[in-house]
Subunit: 219 residues, 2 copies
Amino acid sequence: MKFEDIPTPAVYRLSFYLRQLEAFQRADRHTISSRQLGEALGYTDAQVRKDLAYFGQFGHPGIGYKVDELIGQLRKILGTDKVWNVLLVGAGNLGRALIAYRGFLRKGFRLAAIFDADNTKVGQPFGDLKVESMDNLAQLVSDLNIRLAIVSVPAEAAQNVADRLVAAGIRGILNFAPISVTVPPEVSVQGVDLAVQLEQLSFKMSLTGTESGESPANG
Amino acid sequence: MKFEDIPTPAVYRLSFYLRQLEAFQRADRHTISSRQLGEALGYTDAQVRKDLAYFGQFGHPGIGYKVDELIGQLRKILGTDKVWNVLLVGAGNLGRALIAYRGFLRKGFRLAAIFDADNTKVGQPFGDLKVESMDNLAQLVSDLNIRLAIVSVPAEAAQNVADRLVAAGIRGILNFAPISVTVPPEVSVQGVDLAVQLEQLSFKMSLTGTESGESPANG
C-alpha cells in the first residue's frame, strides 16, 4: 500500500502513538505491546496493529515493540526525523502563545523567522528572533530554506498571506486564521480554526443528548 | 438519516459553510448558489448540495440559499444558536491567547470562568474575569450552568483535570494539552494538539514530494 492510500485518521493516530511512546520513553520503558500502547490511548490492540501495519513491520516476536526503535521509525514516517525550519506570519497574541507553548515546536520543528504586515511591529523582539517585514519574505524563505509556515493573521488577511507564502516557496501551511485559504495542489494546508473545534463539540454534545432536560445558558 | 450517521468530515464542512456564509452576510449578500458557496471554499457545487442535504432541505428554487436563513439553520444544527457558557482551565500563555483571539469565542460561546491549579495565579485578572481556584470548580460549573471546557494545561496535568471536569458535570472538552485524555462515553472530547497538526503537514509534504532534490534544514 502506498502512503497516499492510507486513511487520514490512521496518520493522525500515528502522531498519538508517537506522543505516547515518547511518554513511555521518558518513563524508562524499553519495550511495549500493542495492547499496552492501545490501552494508554483508548484503542484496541487490533487497532494499533492494523494502524502500524499500514506503514511497515515494526514488532518483534515475543518482545513487542522496542520503544526507542519505534519512535525513530514513526518520526521517519512523519518526516520529523529531520529538522524543519518553520516561519510564523502574524506576531499577535496567538502567534506569541503558539511559540511560547511548550511542546508546539518540539523536536523536528524550529522557528526560523517571524513576519508581520504591521510595520510598527517590525524589528520588535519575539523570543530569540525579531519580527521581519513581509518585504523580506521571499529572501528569508530562500536563505533559511523554509518550507513550512504557520499563519496566525486575521481572516481578511489570510488569503493574501497564503498567496505570498506560496509565491515565496512555502509548501505547507498551518492555518490558524478563522477562514479557509485556497492554494495550488502542490501545497498542503492544515486548517486549525479554533471556533470550528468548539462548534464540532457542541454538535457532538447535541448528539449525545447532553441538552435533554437542561438548557444551555441563555446569556 | 440520523445525525449520528453523518460523516464527520461533512460536519466539519458545515462549520466552514457557516463561516463563509457569515462572510457573505458581512458583504451584504442576501442570496447565494451552491456553486458560489462552493467556489469560495474550493468545493464543487455537488459537494455543497450533498453536504447540506444530510441536514435538511435549505435551497429555494430559482433563488438558491437565503444567506440569513441558512446561517440560522446551520447554527441551529451546530448547536450555536444558543449561548454556551465555556470555562477555561490553565491560565497560561496559550489560555490567554485563546481568549484574546478574535473569533475564538464568537457568537454562541461565552467564557464564564477561568481556573488554574497554581494558587499564585488565583485571583489574578484575566480579561473581564479573575482566575478561580480548582477547589471552586464543581460549585461554579453548577452555578453558571457550564457544560463545555477548554483545557490548556501541561500534558502531565491533563488527565487529572479532565477527570475533575467530568466529575463536576462538564460534557464537552476542547483539549489543547499535548496528550489525549480518557473520558466516559457520555463526554465528548475534541483534541487540538498543535504539534500533531505540524506532523500531519510534514507527512503530507513528504507525500507530495516537496523534499525531492532539496533536503529540509538540518539545524
